[in-house]
Assembly symmetry: C2
Homo-oligomer: 361 residues x 2
Amino acid sequence: MRTALVIGTGLIGTSTALALASRGVRVHLADRDPARARTAAGLGAGTDGEPDGPVDLAVVAVPPAHVAQTLAGAMRRGAARGYLDVASVKGGPRRDLEALGCDLAGYIGTHPLAGRELSGPLAADADLFEGRPWVLTPTRDTETEVLNLALELVALCRGVPVVMDADAHDRAVALVSHTPQLISSMVAARLQDADEAAVRLCGQGILDVTRIAASEPQMWIDILSANPGPVADVLAAVAADLDETVRALRALQSADQAKREDGAAGIADVLRRGNAGRERVPGKHGAAPAAYEVVTVHIGDQPGELARIFADAGRAGVNIEDVRIEHATGQQAGLIQLTVQPQAAPELARALKERGWPVRQ
Amino acid sequence: MRTALVIGTGLIGTSTALALASRGVRVHLADRDPARARTAAGLGAGTDGEPDGPVDLAVVAVPPAHVAQTLAGAMRRGAARGYLDVASVKGGPRRDLEALGCDLAGYIGTHPLAGRELSGPLAADADLFEGRPWVLTPTRDTETEVLNLALELVALCRGVPVVMDADAHDRAVALVSHTPQLISSMVAARLQDADEAAVRLCGQGILDVTRIAASEPQMWIDILSANPGPVADVLAAVAADLDETVRALRALQSADQAKREDGAAGIADVLRRGNAGRERVPGKHGAAPAAYEVVTVHIGDQPGELARIFADAGRAGVNIEDVRIEHATGQQAGLIQLTVQPQAAPELARALKERGWPVRQ
């Protein structure tokens, strides 16, 4: 791939362009808003001038609802040898494109699973896709050349290609991304009118469950509007579990012991199924969390404590796999959990104790 | 307070006993399983011998369903001047105690909001309660002396006392703790039978939402069995939101534009209410997340990268408030987010860049 055209210079488009440009591809940038394309060009993502003739690959990075029209326009003017989009849903854009009478052989739908809390070209990063899955949805009609252009793009962006059927992709993201977003919002919404005393009791559990409830609504309205069916199906399954759990809780209030036992069994069932599902979520290196050990240290309220333990942990020479901090409510003090290989845990604990840290047994 | 009796030497009981013993209180330990009390005594939490006469305070730290019977037994033999329990629900034990004909003036229900992923006396820690809310539920019948004994206990354990009505407490923990646990389990349960390809697409969002789904079921069955009504009420409210959201998603599939717009408005509503609720969750120092700035650095797949950036961040002398790591799926590589005061962010970014770290703009 020597030339590319990136249409849509938001976070994903500009990040793709930056990765391509940094690896020697001549990138042309286009955006409905010329000022955004100019901003992206100013960051070194390419040129905002029109290409002289067809480029090797056109990358459409616009909101899901505009993908098909934008692709069709580019195809009509013969902008490229191959076409792809990077929208987070794949079935709808393909069907819209078909309805517009476009030839789908030169097109492949793709989706890089990467993002960040910020949007727009200024948030872009050539490393955004490194190590992240990048879904490709070829069909048997997709030209091999176009599939190879897409694979080259993913490699240049250092993503990990994953081939899937477009509709299977949409069901998968409904399950692992769109549903968790809506559920997180619903749990957080319960706090809107809660008593201040109740809010004070929030701990790490609800902090984690509601973290993504802080997401920007408009982006999610766009995504969910493009994938309503699969998301509704997953939510309906959650709703059935929820109704069953409410029924089990009400049974626990019964005067009848058999009913109470039945209720407890219902609660046990949902908790155990949750355990089983959670075990399937890939952790680091794809390994189960149990493959690591955690060294827990209590840190105090003095300024610089965190910096000091980082320096000490760094000096211990142990390979730290992950870090997690739990703060006591409203305080700097808290627990720092350092995840390491099991054989390294005693060494790290010893080194930290030697330097005066209160390491938990 | 000079003497205490801790009945139930699990995580909470033994941690309380350790905190009291380390601050000079003579602690007696009792457990249905004498070996557990012996283990706690061996850790320095007190003595497992019977007290000669009444102690100042009896602390009952047994599962919610056994609290009332255990308290009633201790009261009948006049074990202490004051009695409290530390169970995570408060309304039921009080009513059970009343039904057993006990005098409630000498009793106060309490709940320390602290815990860890491990249980039993060996997981105990004298610092477990430091900076955490510790709810006290006095009534107008509670003797002032007993309230003061409870406040002294909380102070010795370095907790933060919060006075609440028992039923208000139970509704609050249903909202901020018990409901998030069940919802997390239900989202995780959806993954149990998911395709492997879908599971590969899991990102940080679902990782956070399902973290507590890994919790031990039996402890949660005990807790939920003691607070079924308030939890069912919150879950029913979530279920109503969920049904409304499914309806909105189905409307988005309609051929009728007015219906689609109505659906989009429904989705926007739940996302915005989620934003508003999430803003109420207290962050560090009780401050809104926006009061800090995040310096994001890409770390590679080489061993020791995390230790090295810790050492470098530590040497920069900047006060780091929080740390968060997002790993690329199945890889060591990822993004490390260092949270600092806004004025410190440029200094930290400069120091890390100088040492060769790729700091994100």
